[in-house]
């Protein structure tokens, strides 16, 4: 009998790391404060005690150095590093090692290199952490060919997707929304994997499709529940991975409802939201009965004051308004 308990998103990730480390000695964890401290969000808690300082490595604040180290270790096939970038906002000081190195080695070397590594990082606003600790930059990674980009919304998905990501032979950017770490959900005790590239329909509906990512999935579900009382049926599709993208599930849903709202915490321009809107326009145009609506933050840095930040983050009210406009 499978044992299913309610655990947090952070605990689910911890179980995935623990499982992979116990199974494969090549899996090592590296990053700032991931050792004794257990990670600033507790995701690596207990691993240092269990696997020791050789495999759970605290690093200097030198993101390019330790991410590049992971790339080189992966390229040799000697290790399968899981690296933690404390905030996705810090990628600027290390981006070259991801977008020019990890992402391109396989292609440039004619398919001979395997860069089996995972970069775990955090995204999301809502903590008055201001413009350099609150962004959702998945679009930047998704723009560059060669990186897989994973963005779970539930504890169940988090565990299964992290296991798949570590076992994948490509560089995977695994993005954890900070607002999700404490949420609880049912998670089987035993290991399981969720294939990358398979969206999940979090709620079935027939009137409007909402495609949402990470924390926005929960806000969209909240809106769907509320509007159900008025007889409005909303389908919520969570792509779960931005690259690869489960185009079929998204397009089929749009074809079914004829209406699309994309909800995402990334900036609006050249974004995940505009990408999905373009997908609808090119692959489901004949089914569309209304303009595609996009709910994202404005194109501004993330503000500090709670009074401003709550306006900046896409809210349930804004999602509801967008849905009503195309009903």
């Amino acid at each position: 009998m499978a044992v299913v308990r309610e655990i947090t998103f952070a605990q689910a990730l911890n179980e995935a790391l623990d499982y992979e480390m116990s199974k494969d000695p090549k899996v090592v964890v590296m990053g700032e404060d991931v050792g004794l401290y257990g990670g600033i969000y507790g995701v690596t808690a207990g691993l240092y005690g269990k696997y020791g300082p050789e495999r759970v490595r605290d690093t200097p604040i030198a993101e390019s150095g330790f991410i590049g180290t992971a790339v080189g270790a992966a390229a040799t096939g000697l290790l399968r590093p899981v690296v933690e970038l404390m905030f996705i906002d810090f990628l600027g000081v290390a981006f070259d090692q991801l977008y020019n190195q990890a992402a391109k080695m396989r292609y440039m070397f004619g398919g001979k290199a395997k860069i089996s590594m995972v970069l775990r990082t955090t995204c999301g606003a809502g903590f008055s952490a201001a413009a350099q600790h609150s962004q959702s930059l998945h679009a930047l990674f998704s723009h560059v060919p060669g990186l897989k980009v994973v963005m779970p919304s539930t504890p169940y998905d988090a565990k299964g997707l992290l296991i798949s990501s570590i076992e994948d032979d490509d560089p995977v950017i695994f993005i954890e929304h900070k607002g999700l770490y404490a949420i609880k959900g049912e998670v089987p005790e035993e290991p399981y994997s969720i294939p990358l590239g398979e969206a999940d329909v979090k709620r079935e509906g027939k009137d409007v499709t909402i495609v949402a990512t990470a924390a926005m999935v929960h806000k969209s579900l909240e809106v769907a529940e509320k509007l159900e009382k008025e007889g409005i049926s909303i389908e919520v599709v969570d792509p779960r991975t931005i690259v690869p993208l489960d185009v079929d599930t998204i397009v089929n849903s749009i074809k079914k409802t004829g209406k699309l709202v994309v909800v995402d915490e990334g900036y609006p321009r050249a974004s995940f939201a505009s990408d999905i809107a373009a997908l609808a326009a090119s692959k489901a145009f004949d089914s569309l009965k209304a303009p595609v609506k996009i709910v994202t933050p404005p194109a501004t840095p993330v503000p500090f004051s709670p009074a401003l930040e709550s306006e900046w983050i896409p809210s349930a009210e804004k999602i509801e308004k967008a849905v009503r406009e195309i009903l």
């Binding site: 150095g65 590049g68 180290t69 190195q101 290199a113 897989k148 398979e198 690869p244 489960d246």
Partner: protein, 334 residues
């Protein structure tokens, strides 16, 4: 190190490998001028003793990371020259199936983890290879090659610092050819030698004449043996000089013809080594000439292979991006 202390076989390997790099690079210059090689190329002529002096201490299982000026490292590490020549031409049979070109040649089978188009980009990869070696309990080493310009990059600082605190089996070899494109070394750094920076990381820093293959060999030997013993990294600066421009076609307005001629006349690493080999009676003139003939033939065969190889097919544009296939769309095409 004196000639007498090194077996003849190794001395001749060094000579032959330097000649192979020289002949390869000069032939590539011709082919580039003829328009047969697309893109741009950065040649290693004049710097041969650095790659060869270091690589004479390495095993096949050891790793190296290279630079945009990487042909010499590739050849000295034992990379397949037919595959690299075909890659320079952009052919299907190339080391990267024509997708990488001169700045991205790699041969993972011999531990050559790749040339790199980003200055300093490969330094942390050598650190990562060394971490893999250490955690797997192996006695191999990794060597990062990079230029004087790269020693101002964050990856130099962050990579060496990591290797130092983790005592990893890696050797950092700075090929100080005295110009980062046009900017001379004295205008990039206020110190006399990049090796001085070793002190900042608590590791040995050694400067060596990069035109003297035996001097490089000796310094690298000590550093590599130290790394194999688990005593941590060393920073080596090899002072060298590129006889050609930064890239083929470089007008070289930043240095005089006299300066270049002086180096060619007085500090050609092959000529200097040749004189030593003849003087000590390690080889005869005929033997050395025979090496040049053999190598020239070999390079011509590689050129012929490249010229006769097919172009990649159009379908290959979208291949080799990812390893693990998925149900969702990975390689997007509208």
């Amino acid at each position: 190190m004196a000639v007498e202390e090194i077996p003849k076989e190794k001395l001749l390997w060094m000579y032959e490998t330097m000649v192979r790099i020289r002949v390869h690079e000069e032939r590539v210059a011709e082919l580039f001028a003829q328009g047969k090689i697309p893109g741009f190329v950065h040649l290693y002529v004049g710097e041969e003793a650095v790659a060869v002096g270091v690589m004479a201490n390495l095993r096949k299982e050891d790793y190296i990371t290279s630079t945009h000026r990487g042909h010499g490292h590739y050849i000295a590490k034992g990379g397949d020259i037919k595959a690299s020549m075909a890659e320079l031409f952009g052919k299907k049979t190339g080391s990267g199936k024509g997708k990488g070109g001169s700045m991205h040649i790699a041969d993972l089978d011999v531990g050559e983890l790749g040339a790199n188009g980003i200055v300093g980009g490969g330094i942390p990869h050598a650190v990562g290879a060394a971490l893999g070696i250490k955690l797997n309990g192996l006695d191999n080493v990794a060597v990062a090659f990079f230029g004087d310009g790269a020693s101002n990059q964050q990856n130099f600082h962050e990579g060496i610092n990591l290797a130092s605190i983790w005592k990893l089996p890696v050797v950092f070899v700075c090929e100080n050819n005295q110009y980062q494109i046009s900017l001379s070394y004295d205008k990039q750094q206020a110190i006399k030698s990049v090796a001085e920076r070793g002190k900042a990381y608590g590791i040995p820093g050694v400067s060596v004449d990069g035109q003297d293959v035996l001097a490089v060999y000796e310094v690298a030997k000590e550093a590599i043996e130290r790394a194999r013993r688990g005593e941590g990294p060393t920073l080596i600066e090899a002072k060298t000089y590129r006889f050609r421009g930064h890239f083929e076609g470089d007008p070289q307005v930043y240095r005089s013809k006299e300066e270049v001629e002086w180096w060619k006349k007085n500090k050609d690493p092959i000529k200097l080594f040749e004189e030593k080999l003849l003087e000590k009676g390690v080889a005869t003139r005929e033997e050395l000439d025979g090496i040049w003939e053999k190598v020239k033939k070999e390079i011509e065969e590689a050129v012929k292979f490249a010229e006769e190889s097919p172009w990649p097919s159009k379908e290959e544009v979208v291949e080799d991006v990812f390893s693990t296939p998925t149900k969702g769309v990975l390689v997007w095409q509208w």
